[in-house]
Symmetry: C2
Subunit: 205 residues, 2 copies
DNA sequence: GTCTATATTTTGATAGAC
DNA sequence: GTCTATCAAAATATAGAC
């Protein structure tokens, strides 16, 4: 009789390496964007980052929520800083919005997880006390750009909230359909058309 | 020494009534739309519907997923039927789209859970094999309306997918901002402006 | 800083009495 | 068709050894 040979198939024995906080954040961002927050367990994150157990994650973050919070803060901060930069380098509202659109489309191609997490994940479902997008520094800067555009006569005189709604309605829908494959090409391919449609919607004729 | 008095506060002893499948669906829809699928437990549904235990739910639905599936089918079917009706009653693409917009805005005010569930909940997160919105009968009918509008010269000659994207980008963003309070008034208040912006975006000038 | 082991909690789900 | 009781599984989190 043959001896039973127990072959332990070890899926991937990741050499227990030392892990950094940023690695955890990157892995979590990718997973949250792909599968959603609730479908992502700490086990998934631990696997993605190459740990043997989830324990190692707790040295950086006390809870799974805390990971999502940090992620959101980082992304929003970075976005807000980019907007500052854009405002510094451009004077006209049209130029500033144009560059913001440029940034969003570039990110959609190069770092889709960021756009997914920034624009299309309902963070309030798992971050109950997170401020709405509309209460963030980044959003307020965009709103000010629009208000300025109205004052300077570049943008039609409508409620600035509605101008935001129409403009980013088009931009965001385009990005979303690129991300979920409803638009088959890269975001870049649609950028100039989307810009024309969105700007045409709010520009003074 | 005073005697410890255990007062059992019974939050609400719901008189065990008999429950229908439709009551379960209605309660689930409301909860899913409010708190999200993952934040809604069968316990929540059982409470909302007035049962003492979750067991009663299992006579209608084998799994929690099945509730969400049925809900989605029902809503999509009903929406598809409404579109059929609209196409029957109107000839021009502009009229048909106008009535679809009318329906969406009415529903946002009268049954926000339906719009929430139809347009803004990522069902693929908990219904892994659910078809994308873009593969539903309802969506295909809308797409055909747009293609027809292009053929008849009502709508600019662009990719029909892009026309859909711009048009419903504006419409859906408006509805979303009404639902989350970023636009403070009723959907109805914004309907005619949103229609003008959205239609103006795709109409032949 | 990573591991083993385990505690804790929650939730989805089932069996069977009434 | 609703209830009691219970199960099984999964996931978050902790304690302590190495």
């Amino acid at each position: 009789m043959e001896q039973e040979l127990e072959i332990e198939i070890q899926p991937e024995t990741p050499p227990s390496k030392t892990v950094t906080q940023d690695e955890v954040l990157q892995a979590a961002l990718k997973l949250f964007a792909q599968k959603g927050y609730f479908n992502t367990s700490l086990t998934d994150i631990k696997d993605a980052v190459g740990l043997k157990t989830t324990s190692g994650i707790y040295q950086f973050f006390k809870t799974k929520q805390a990971i999502a919070e940090t992620l959101r803060e980082n992304i929003l901060d970075s976005f807000s800083i980019s907007i500052d930069d854009i405002r510094r380098r451009n004077r006209k509202a049209s130029e500033q919005l144009r560059e913001i659109v440029d940034l969003l489309f570039k990110l959609t191609d190069d770092a889709p997880e960021i756009i997914q997490y920034l624009l299309f994940i309902k963070t309030e479902d798992f971050l109950p006390e997170s401020t709405s997008l509309m209460d963030t520094a980044a959003y307020n800067k965009i709103k000010r750009i629009i208000q300025n555009g109205i004052k300077e006569g570049e943008i039609r005189s409508v409620d600035s909230q509605l101008a935001y709604c129409y403009f980013f309605g088009i931009i965001n829908q385009t990005l979303m359909m690129v991300l979920n494959g409803s638009l088959p090409k890269t975001a870049d391919s649609y950028q100039s058309q989307a810009w024309l449609a969105a700007w045409g919607c709010i520009a003074k004729k």
